[in-house]
């Protein structure tokens, strides 16, 4: 099983990095997340019986690690962002039309963001996405269409 895991880690490394970076927007931290994920995967490898679930399991560990890291970052940044909000005048509507990728995604709930990242950006199937998030495929499917609509509405404004 260890050999399969190594093979999958090497095959998925770019995807793991991109996903991690989409949470923390920092190269060093994204590398840390990938490293912690690999460590965790080796430590808990015994839990896995079927090699075909390795990829999904690995991505799930990565997302959890990334969310943890993101939370830690927010705790340290809270003070600075509060100050910033007061200083910046409200953004005008015309500017809002072209918001950066991260800002667009921030409009969606955590789970909706995950669906968009995994299914659209990373081109994983709906089944795989559902397995990573840990919900039935039908739920993910309706969530996908809903978040797509929500996003298109935001983008169209």
């Amino acid at each position: 099983m260890q050999e399969e895991l190594i093979k999958i880690i090497r095959h998925e490394q770019a995807r793991l990095f991109r996903l991690a970076n989409s949470y923390v927007h920092d190269e060093q931290q994204a590398l840390d997340i990938v490293q912690i994920t690999v460590e965790k995967a080796f430590r808990k490898l015994k839990q896995i019986k079927e090699p075909k679930y390795l990829k999904i399991w690995l991505i799930r560990i990565l997302i959890n690690t990334a969310i943890d890291m993101q939370r830690k970052n927010q705790q340290t940044k809270e003070y600075t962002t509060e100050v910033k909000k007061d200083l910046v005048t409200p953004i005008s509507v015309s500017l809002e039309q072209q918001i950066a990728l991260a800002e667009e995604l921030k409009q969606l709930s955590e789970m909706e963001q995950q669906v968009i990242k995994l299914h659209i950006f990373e081109e994983l199937s709906l089944d795989e996405t559902a397995n990573i998030i840990g919900k039935p495929t039908s739920t993910i499917k309706s969530l996908y269409y809903r978040s797509l609509k929500k996003l298109e509405k935001k983008l169209g404004e």
């Binding site: 927007h25 460590e39 430590r43 950066a100």
Partner: protein
């Protein structure tokens, strides 16, 4: 921004493949290491040391060969040479100044080391005069090295109420002993406008840059692509940290002097 554009932007994140591979390999090695008994290690080390000592002392050819094996000689490295530290109740600084080591070209090494030392000292002076930035930190790392290029990086973080993160890259052509600049890669000055236009296509309306904002902060990644680097807050909201823009070769090919460095 359309969803396809969002996807393209997501996919165009620059992946530091060298560092990524290295981290993963290290972790895998750590997790799969098989331990020998202490006496096996001792004997093993003793044999290696003994054979190396004998070989170096008895064979001129061996000495010659080791000096050519990369890893024993050719790998450029950065070491800490000076650290400006300052701590009091309301502020602190930790400015690490690198020294380029294990580089054959002494002239180039001197030039870079003087530059790094000067810029480090300047950061320290600015910190002492400036009442605004209450923390300053500089760290450094080697991004990668291949047969042609060495890419070095220094990261500067200044924090007051707001924080500014800046990455400064140095791209070295070892064979020719050169530090690359953008002007060297392009035929004429038109490149600044060309690159600025390309970057502006991807940024929000309130983050547009001018041609003269295209400075020499760039590197060439392991795939041979040109990557421009911008400090936080320059082309995107500050919380997104340092931004990198990968330039597709199609955009610049006609203006390049050669595809020697930028290949893809």
């Amino acid at each position: 921004m359309k969803i396809e554009e969002m996807k393209a932007r997501y996919k165009s994140q620059d992946i530091p493949e060298f560092a990524l591979k290295e981290r993963i390999n290290q972790t895998i090695a750590k997790k799969t290491r098989q331990w020998f008994g202490w006496w096996e290690i001792t004997i093993g080390v003793a044999i290696i040391v003994a054979s190396f000592v004998i070989a170096v002392n008895t064979s001129y050819q061996f000495v010659n060969a080791t000096s050519r094996i990369s890893g024993l000689k050719d790998l450029v490295s950065l070491v800490l040479v000076r650290e400006y530290k300052h701590v009091d109740k309301t502020s602190w600084a930790d400015i690490q100044v690198p020294l380029v080591a294990q580089i054959d070209n002494q002239k180039l090494a001197n030039k870079l080391n003087t530059q790094y030392a000067n810029e480090g000292r300047q950061l320290d002076t600015e910190f002492k005069q400036d009442t605004k930035h209450r923390t300053v930190r500089q760290s450094f790392s080697k991004v990668y090295q291949d047969q042609k290029l060495v890419v070095l990086k220094r990261r500067i973080t200044k924090t007051a109420a707001d924080s500014l993160v800046e990455d400064k890259y140095t791209v070295i052509d070892l064979k020719h002993g050169l530090v690359l600049t953008l002007a060297m890669l392009f035929k004429n000055n038109h490149y600044q406008k060309l690159l600025a236009d390309f970057v502006n296509k991807q940024t929000q309306a309130n983050f547009k840059i001018k041609a003269h904002d295209i400075k020499d902060n760039f590197y060439i990644n392991e795939q041979g692509k040109l990557v421009l680097v911008f400090a936080s807050g320059l082309i995107a909201p500050a919380y997104l940290n340092v931004q990198k823009v990968v330039i597709p070769i199609g955009v610049i090919k006609q203006d390049l002097v050669s595809t020697n460095y930028i290949r893809k």
